[in-house]
Symmetry: none
Subunit: 192 residues, 4 copies
DNA sequence: CATGAATGAGAATTCATTCAT
DNA sequence: GATGAATGAATTCTCATTCAT
């Protein structure tokens, strides 16, 4: 069905391009459907974007939860979380940027609310993981766990982008290690 | 003179709006000049943007350097640096986002190069401050100082934006304190 | 369909106006379509111009070749050729001027090449007719047949334009007769 | 004085560029005066153009008349005339094109009239030379001498332009010889 | 005499959206 | 369900012209 093809194409286009540079033409082209079909299946660009974001984040949460289910040590949980987020930011930089940092893109109230919700849920999810530190032998610093989650997201996003334009200088592994150090040392008194 | 008025208006507009949503019409309107006056003073939109970015960052660097000149303890230097960066991000979020994270906005080679230079200089400036930790009794963690600077910028940017949409929940002081904790604990083994 | 209507309108507008004075607005207006429709059907002004030129010259060549097919005497061929060219210049002065005399109008390489090709083909076509004189009992003067063709085009263009602003002084028949005399006597030692 | 400098610069600019692509900015630049100075000295672009045309043609006529004064044989007169016209067209193609072929450029009535007058005078001048043929032992063909002059101008203009883009193929001498042949054989029964 | 900052009408182009089929 | 031709508002940019100094 073409709805599915459109979403897939839209994920690509919105991931690679800033919202205003991601054109409906390009999406239709990649989905191999007529332009009208986009509007047959979605009320408009922003609604399509909303759908795409939801889909991307659902997939993301599903993947990450699968890895975190077992009662692995906190250290490993953090590591997995970082790894998945780096994947997300490396693949869908523009899309995730909007969700986390630029929700004020001129969307209708409608769309805006859902994006905010999505972000809030995501931050809650992260905050929950971080809070685990408090019940552990390690201690989450004297930090609001939401602020901590937000700061963590920021570090992940900016280092991902820096990595993308300096791939000759660092390996993906370097990136992961350094980000892990920064984040764990910033959030926990000690870990392991 | 209207050149100055245009720059001021452009700083506002580019600070509040994403590059593509910042229109020359809006800038002309706010500067209270005719559209043609923009083009009399600047070759085009991207060149105007470049000018605005340079101006903003020059001012920023001037302000921050003034505060850091004296041989104050590292801890205070970091605190000042954070404070000034929060100011920057709270006032000019879109503008600084482009410089630090989205330089690939479809600019001409010309403009692109200058923006990249500006970013590199800024990161060097930050990295230099961070490296001081190594000569102190405190130790900069086993981190590439540029990656550390980039991560720090990310934390600052994302927490600033979060703060802007949750001003009822946190005070500006809360923000500063928490960010200070996150950053110092993430970058240094201990501080003071 | 509106593509055809646009081409027709564009032929008119480009025929009557110099390229830079022929505006897309005017073309849209005459074609009774919205401005956007022009860009739905053609990538831009210069491409539309190219299409218009090709169409005009294809029609022209078709018409003239139909008349010249039979093995009529050279004299009649020349006469027909002159007649058709006068038609062309009287109807589409600006358009043909560009093709024959002002191809350097600031077009993209792309468009430029096709226009040059068109002109070259046209001159070859004319030169071929003129060369026939050499195999006849008449003799083409000691002239490069391409230069001769170019000169002939020049005479046709300038006399057409003169005629247009002095229609009270000469009839179309006068024009044809005089041009025929000038051209045949200039190119051939004698004719018939 | 700057008026003179403006005229000189304008001659250059209007000679090298089509009227609409010849900008007042460029003229001011080349004349090394401020833009306002153009309007201090001339009421507007078209009036400046008119002045430039008059100057160019006055100079042209003066030069050509100097060469034709003596009672040289008709053949030589024609040759000189051709040579001077080729010079004109090779140096000032756009400017002369407007005068001879594209007077309808959107000029004010005012300017239009003077341009028409200039053209008419020029054609008269040419026609007079051609008429000499009738009183000579040679005979001007059964041609209206004005039409003949116009046709001659057309041949000169188009071959000049062709020459400019095929300079590798022909020398300036070739051009002159061939044009001489074409024109004399077209206008006179025989010459010398 | 001369300036040059400022103007604003107009031009090309883009793109999300609509709608008849 | 799906199409794609058509739209028009918005946007960047150009340039002849004006005018206070």
């Amino acid at each position: 069905m073409s709805k599915e093809r459109i979403i897939k194409a839209a994920i690509e286009v919105f991931s690679e391009n800033e919202y205003h540079r991601a054109s409906m033409d390009e999406i239709a082209l990649r989905a191999q459907v007529a332009k009208g079909t986009l509007y047959y299946n979605f009320p408009g660009k922003s609604q399509l974007f909303k759908t795409v974001v939801k889909r991307t984040f659902e997939d993301f949460i599903r993947r990450i939860k699968a890895d975190l289910q077992s009662s692995i040590p906190l250290k490993d949980k953090i590591q997995q979380t970082i790894r998945h987020h780096l994947d997300l930011f490396l693949e869908s930089r523009h899309l995730s940027h909007i969700v986390f940092n630029d929700i004020s893109n001129g969307f209708e109230e409608d769309v805006l609310d859902e994006l905010k919700l999505l972000r809030e849920e995501h931050l809650n999810f992260l905050a929950t993981i971080l809070e685990e530190g408090k019940c552990d032998e390690n201690y989450l610093r004297d930090l609001d766990s939401h602020i901590a989650a937000v700061g963590m997201i920021g570090t992940l996003e900016s280092t991902s982008k820096y990595f993308l334009s300096h791939q000759n200088k660092y390996s993906r592994d370097d990136l992961e290690r350094q980000v892990f150090t920064m984040i764990t040392m910033s959030l926990f008194n000690s870990i392991e």
